[in-house]
Amino acid sequence: MPIDEAMREAFITFTNESRDLLSDLEEGILGLEDNQGDSDTVNAIFRAAHTLKGSAGLFGLDRLVRFTHVVETALDGVRAGTVDVTQELVSALLPCVDHLAAAVDGLAAGQSEADALDETTGDALLAALQPHLSRTGAGDQPRADGTGAVSGETWERTWQLSLCFGPDSLRNGMDPLAFVRYLSTMGTVLRVETLTDRLPPAREADPHTCYLTFQVHLRTTTSKIELEGVFDFVRDDSQIRIVPADNEIGSYVRLIQSQPPSDRIGNILVHCGVLTEQEAATAAEIQRQRCGNGGSAPAPIGAILVEQGIVPQPLVDAALRKQRRTSEARAGESQTIRVDATRLDTLIDLVGELVLAQASAADRASAGEQAGLLEAQSEVTRLVEEVRHRTLALRMVPIGTTLRRFERIIRDACAELNKEVDLVVTGGDAEMDKAMVERISDPLLHLVRNALDHGIEPCPERVASGKPARGTLRLNAFHEAGCIIIEVIDDGRGLARDRILRKAVEQGLVPPGTNLTDQEIYALIFEAGFSTADAVSNLSGRGVGMDVVRRNVAELRGTIDIESTPGHGSTIRIRLPLTLAIIDGFLVSVGSSAYVIPLDTVTECVELPATARTRNHISLRGQVLPLIRLRSTFGTTEPPPRRQSIVVVEQSGQRAGLVVDTLMGQLQTVIKPLGLLSSHAQCISGTTIRGNGDIALILDVAALLATHGSREPAPAMAAA
């Protein structure tokens, strides 16, 4: 066990990074099923296992190393094409990843390696993996090392040799045909062409000068380097080109794609065995010469290789693509950096203070009316806004990563429930605060399990109702009006309205004979202890889930709605505010108090018409707009001004006009949480400090709308 401080810190880094690697590993292995043999994925997961093994070794975690080694070997086999990717393989690999994840968690919690990594379980998992590690046959897939052969196994290829012997070859005592004869001892000569295009008119020919070129197609296991070596003595005088035969270009392109990343095409091509070091040096020399001559930018090596006939164009193209992908990947990698979350929070707090201080300064500047100062202040405002925006963005992560994690759960659940469900994730790019992502993850998980358990029917039932045998579970996320919406959509049997109502009556949640809308009935499933599942399954049905989900969502200041069509499916929609810390608001006054209305809920402002002074609603462009008089809401006693204004707000599809005394314009401010004493105040979600030092209360628009809605004469559902 690590003892001193430095080791402890390093160990924490190790466990954190291992978790990341394991997460990548799991995602990659799942991806293997859908995307067989995509070389980037395969390479990535192999590297993940390899890195994990190496890091574990650094800390002397031998059991971890041994276990990971077997997994790494399996993945190496996938990478080399000797292990087939099957569903069984994936099913054998995933538990191994789980085992490692549990071990890392154990180690992070302070357990010893022996406790964290149970050998019996581990051995069983590895045994399950073994059958998949046997070779499926070498096949014709090329494998790479410097000589184009791997660990003693040779691979037969067809080369096209273009032997353009120099004029003095014969004089120097060489016999070109002897070379061709020699080649036939190295493999099978498939074809020879004698090219006479260099022959001069016969009368002018010199019988001692060589004008002939031979093109040979040779099938051999010999490497290119060895073939090149055959012509060592004629190379100076002749042009010898050895390239893969045309029909093998495809294999080589695939080989290049499967290479580990490299940012030099020379290395890529040499590693595949289509380019020898000597040829690379020749090309480099040509490049150097040309560069020296013209003084212009050096011709690309790839172009030179093609031009000189050393490497065929398609292979140079493949190598260039590989090179480009490597640089892109590397650029992506190096741009991330691990940051301690508390440091980030401190920074965000500071930025919050900065916003307030800046607002205060802006206030005083505008009061003073010095043009220069106003201008400078406006610039500061702009910069502070930018800093605020970017700082908050630091904590934003795309929700897709979390959503895609459900793929594993769905896969396992389908196996257990004997159902077939496809997961579709859309809008994974939508970003939300990292802390919120973590807190919404469990509620979403429960909703997903619910959909699998109760929503989606087993195949026979689906087919009988004319649906496709495979169900679809869609996770969708998108931004709207300063919120993020997450939807869990299934095409199952939908909510059973009548059964829910019946159960609710049975459990005493609703007095019998009550008239409820569909929406209200669906909302019943969020009540504690409610469950219509006749069979309690392993996953859900214990009735402890949905109310917890609603509470978690409420704690994040969000809302949750259900839509359902019997027989067709259900949609559960969670709406969460995007930012927890800083808010853009619209400042209004009611009496002597100031209130902030979240700007993303404000659609417009209008004057309160004189005729509407006592009415509950007005007509806004032909539509009814209910009015909420904040004076009444907050019990303001001061006399109202002559003209009042209406701020039209909208949220969750509900619209209302808030009647206020004066409009004071937009502001950007930090939400200070309500103290314990006032945290029960309805319709207030927080406070803030204005530029002039006064406190303004931030309105909870959703709560306002809901409360107002409950005042309307409605069927007897008690207000929340």
């Binding site: 014969l170 045909l177 016969a202 009368r203």
Partner: protein, 116 residues
């Protein structure tokens, strides 16, 4: 009918019947004898008509020699003559095999017999 008397170690003879002129090459047709054999062939391919080069007595053939034969054929074509090679010796056969050439010194495509 024309006869050429040998002036060196490589022997050639000329013979022909019924309008076809024939040259018999013999001995080495290699880099060693290239200069002389070249002269012989060029002296032979001088006018249009049917020409034959007999190879039965060729003891050795290398690239230089093959090149000479190809030059001779090229010259014949230029003059509008037809030139064919006859009775290749074993040595010549071996070379033809290595070079994938047929009896007419044309490239043999794999799987095909005869000229392209």
């Amino acid at each position: 009918m024309t006869k050429t008397s040998p002036t060196h170690s490589a022997h050639t003879t000329a013979a022909g019947t019924g309008g076809v002129r024939r040259l018999e090459l013999d001995g080495e047709v290699t880099i060693n004898t290239a200069a002389q054999q070249y002269q012989t062939l060029m002296a032979f391919v001088t006018s249009p008509g049917s020409l034959e080069v007999g190879l039965a007595a060729v003891s050795d053939l290398d690239t230089a020699g093959l090149q000479l034969l190809l030059l001779a054929r090229q010259e014949a074509e230029r003059l509008g003559a037809t030139l064919s090679f006859r009775e290749p010796s074993q040595a010549v056969q071996d070379i033809l095999t290595i070079a994938h050439l047929n009896g007419n010194l044309d490239n043999v495509r794999p799987g095909l017999e005869g000229a392209d």
